[in-house]
Symmetry: C2
Subunit: 640 residues, 2 copies
């Protein structure tokens, strides 16, 4: 148990729930890493699509990034309204459930879950990819590094969002400071100097080879939209905020969106001004857009390395956003019965352990299957997020529509959001369909099907267990008690004594040749002993003495002859309940399990499995002491 405390921290009681909630300072790293990290690959992705245009590409970067930032602003304003309207949980799942019904809510949930899983795999592999290109000697260890990062993030989140948030705070705020700083410096130079010269000139761009078609621009827009996937995290995780909830959520969302917007806009302006384009990743001497940008503005000095290190950190840790969001969405879905109940059960640190571990395992499997290189998954990536945005905004439109007091401005805002994100979704789907987006289009309905199947199982279960009226008391005669007896010893004494307190009708059952055909056994000796040690003393107390039955166990298994006996008892007295009393030694130490055959445990399992609903299994424990004396008193030493 000390290991548990060391790894995960001490247990938290239900009362400590409020203490573990987040303020905005912790929430920005906890929920914003995905969004902030994506500022590095969003513009890069758009510029990569524009490579064929050569220098002409930069002309189109403005409009493309402009529309992305416009979309971001619309999304920000829409989501502010969502937060205000659903201050306890503003995730797309809840909004859709309340306003659009079951299937739209499952659509949002499935899309979001898939996106969160992909985000972990893609984020970690992208971070490790960047790390490996900086330190090529690490190249053979891509997969172990990916898995190690997932393990660290998993552990941090199992300890609790708050602490995980603090762990991630340093790189996050360092990243914000560095890149907002360098972009401000760049814009300052552009404004002050008429034609600022780069400190380190980026590689020259090719001459324009072709002109831009609408398809190419759509594609660039779709690729750039990956920068926006982290926006849902705040509304989805609003339950994690401490009071004042709404204020904390507003500040967190605002910081994330403003920093993201500044970065996207700033990167676009400086890229255009300093002629920075994307380079071919597969070629020698590749540098990312941000690396070229920092180099052009300040050169490859100490600051460059600090800034790039902070970027590397937040790329590697961008998976954390998923670890905050995924367990929370699973928890909501599980609470409604669409996922196994374990997803809704807070663990020792009041986090949703099952969801965290499930995400960790799923993402690790993805990484293992793809050998740590998940490039092919990137096209699948933004679809889930935009599907969620669209469903959520549509739900909000219905929400405002249904309000008694009409608020046309709010309705219009969310309608604009729904249309804009819906249009973006269409563009992304069209642009990336053949690159893998179709996989998402299969995965989402499959997930929805699974969620529905779980729900219908729980519905059936509830229908079976529902008890509409008062208790029915037809059979309250004491049961027939069968006591499984190996020999006459303290264990069977304790069991028989307990059986006598339950019912006058006690039968001791001894199975013959349980130990195989070569086992030596004296049936007569056992019968004689039973008569003198049990039957006579019990009769002397005026009680009905327990009979001893010897039945053969031809297949050396306990449960079959017992079940056959119970069947016979049932045929004789169908109204009578039957309880099987199994004496069981309790083991203190793991190695004791090697020395015992666990017949009691296996018999219990088999009886419960095959004995039907009218059989009851009673376990009479016998605690083994190591000093040779049985422990009679209770020892309550539950580990904390």
């Amino acid at each position: 148990m000390n290991l548990n405390t060391l790894l995960f921290g001490r247990r938290l009681s239900n009362r400590e729930h409020e203490d573990k909630k987040l303020g905005w300072i912790e929430a920005v790293p906890a929920m914003g890493l995905d969004g902030l990290g994506s500022s590095s690959y969003g513009p890069e992705a758009a510029l990569t699509i524009l490579i064929p245009l050569g220098a002409l590409g930069l002309v189109y970067l403005g409009p493309v990034m402009g529309s992305i930032i416009a979309l971001l602003v619309i999304l920000y304003l829409s989501y502010r309204q969502t937060l205000a309207a659903y201050p306890s949980s503003g995730g797309a799942y809840v909004v859709a459930k309340e306003n659009l019904g079951e299937y739209p809510s499952l659509l949002a949930a499935a899309a979001l879950m898939i996106d969160y899983v992909l985000n972990v795999a893609v984020g970690v592999s992208a971070g490790v990819g960047a790390l490996v290109s900086a330190l090529p000697s690490l190249h053979p260890y891509i997969l172990p590094l990916c898995l190690a990062i997932i393990a660290v993030v998993t552990l941090a989140n199992l300890r609790g969002t708050g602490e995980a948030g603090w762990l991630f705070a340093l790189p996050t705020y360092l990243f914000i400071a560095c890149f907002i700083g360098v972009i401000a410096y760049g814009v300052f130079r552009i404004v002050v100097e008429s034609d600022p010269a780069p400190v380190v000139a980026p590689p020259p761009l090719a001459a324009s080879a072709s002109s831009a078609g609408i398809w190419l621009l759509m594609h660039a827009f779709a690729s750039g939209c990956t920068a926006m996937t982290g926006v849902e995290a705040v509304s989805n995780g609003i339950g994690s905020f401490r009071e004042p909830i709404l204020k904390n959520a507003y500040i967190t969302l605002t910081i994330i969106v403003v920093v993201l917007g500044l970065l996207l806009g700033g990167i676009a302006i400086i890229a255009v001004w300093f002629d920075i384009g994307a380079m071919d990743q597969t070629k020698e001497g590749y540098q990312s857009v941000l690396s070229q940008l920092v180099g052009a503005l300040v050169g490859f000095n100490t600051f460059y390395y600090v800034a790039m290190s902070s970027l590397l950190c937040i790329l590697c840790l961008s998976a954390n956003t998923s670890f905050v969001g995924f367990p929370r969405i699973c928890r909501m879905v599980a609470a409604d019965g669409y996922l196994p109940k374990g997803f809704a059960q807070p663990g020792r640190r009041l986090v949703f352990t099952v969801g965290i571990l499930f995400l960790s395992v799923l993402a690790s499997l993805l990484l293992i299957v793809f050998g740590g290189i998940t490039e092919k998954l990137i096209p699948l990536f933004a679809i889930g997020a935009f599907l969620t945005f669209t469903v959520s905004q549509t739900g909000m439109v219905v929400h405002w529509w249904r309000q008694k007091q009409r608020q046309p401005r709010k309705l219009a805002m969310n309608a604009v959001g729904a249309v804009a994100t819906g249009a973006a979704l269409l563009v992304i789907l069209l642009a990336k369909f053949t690159e893998g987006a179709w996989i998402t289009l299969i995965a989402v309905p499959v997930t929805i099907g699974l969620l529905r199947a779980v729900k219908s199982y729980y519905d059936g279960l509830e229908a079976q267990l529902r008890k509409p009226g008062p208790i029915i008391l037809d059979e309250i005669d004491p049961p027939t008690v069968l006591v499984v007896t190996e020999s006459w010893n303290r264990l069977s004494e304790r069991a028989i004594r307990f059986a006598l307190t339950l019912s006058p009708d006690v039968v001791a059952v001894h199975l013959v040749r349980l130990g195989g055909p070569e086992m030596e056994e004296s049936e007569k000796a056992l019968r004689d002993q039973w008569q003198t040690e049990v039957e006579e003393p019990v009769a002397a107390r005026g009680l009905q003495p327990p009979r001893l039955m010897l039945i053969p166990a031809p297949y050396r298994e306990l449960h079959e002859p017992l079940l056959r006996l119970i069947e016979k008892l049932d045929a004789d007295a169908p109204e009578r309940q039957v309880a099987v009393l199994i004496p069981e030694t309790v083991k203190d130490r793991w190695w004791q399990n090697i020395l015992h055959m666990n017949r009691a445990g296996r018999l219990r399992t088999q009886l419960l499995k095959f004995g039907g609903s009218r059989l009851t299994v009673v376990t009479v424990p016998w605690r083994l002491s190591r000093e040779g004396e049985p422990v009679e008193g209770r020892t309550i030493a539950a580990p904390l």
Copy 2:
């Protein structure tokens, strides 16, 4: 369950025990593979030691092999007497236990067990080594091949010795026919022709470089003695023979020893006559002694390949002798309490499953650790066998000594056996001490220590459980019954109804906020429902109504608040027993376990572990049906 039947065959009942016993035809392959296979490496090992002598070595081969064969004859005659004296189990363990006491018997058991494990690892790796040198393209697969062979032999033995015997019969008898035939042909030619010429001449031997010292001859003798390790198998496995037991055992032992003796003697004669020496295994063009021998007599024709294939087979399968012997020795040792009881429990096919699997795992681990190349283990190998022989023969001397009717000839025979094998043991120990024999000298006492530790655990257990007198009946008041209640449903109805049959003192316990701080719960609604649905109807029947207690579960665990409650009940009424009644849903399908949290199972485990000996745990099963209706009747559908 069909998979089990397919893999292991149908279950066998205790009554079928006799049908599964062996006659000599099956016993020779089952128990003799080790001994027969060793005819190939015994002479080879002796000749390898003689390599430095060059051609002169063959002069000394006669005396060395002569003493080995003489020892074999002594061993044969001694063991015949052992079989006759202990016709139910003539293993060294039993003989030593009856005549020499506990520690000598454990010495024999430990030595034999270690030898059996080594035999599997060494035998399989030697067989695969021979296979790989015949088919070099298999070289990268040494370890997988070794493990695959162990898996096949394990599976065959889990199906039962009889069937395993038949599986191995073909290569065994083919091997015997081929090699006895070729040696007879060789001897015939030597007798008929004055100076027979080899069909394929073996490579010329080097001129004598040095003369033979006593140390070298001792070493050659010690190496040659590895040919004798399989002799104990018959006396150890005598319990597997069918009637007439003694006759079958005699015939089996005789066949094995006579064939082994003929092979050893024949190989020595032909090697001397045709100038066949051992070749250096590490050099290109290596051929084993038997390969040279068959080549010299008949050439490399079809017969050569058939003969060498049969040799390869029995080498690979020589591990089988261990799989017959090891589980049986473990079973005897376990029946006396020196090994976990599971070793003495016959499995579905009446074989000792635990022993077979344990041997399989141990040998596989050895092979994995050594990468499939266990050459270094060969020196450790014969020591266990000769230690066992010596202990067994010494025990027999004491046995005859104690007999009322003195049988001096029999005593003398076993005394000769004891002295001879003891002397051989000394020679082997001296010759191989630095090569690794010292490891056995450490492993044997460590094993004995473990066996003693197990025994003292079981002795302590028995002392704790021993019940000398009649049953004591001081407390037979009905227990306080606590019913764990999640909500008012059919599960709790069934549990409460059963509780009312056991005791008038029933308390329903509901744990509050088990699902975490955010769980919505109406304590008042539950209390009201309890009053109308339970308390009032029960009181109306004239019974004491079960109270409802709500207790908080701050750490979201069931067992701690319950244990605390029980502690309190105990303080109030120390004489009263407490039974905790747990309703549990029974799952038919594996996937149902994913959808349920198994709170009932975990609670039971924790209560048994921490609740002390006076707490009883009652499991009330509720079988889930898939049709939506609870199954009320019993369903006895135990798999066969």
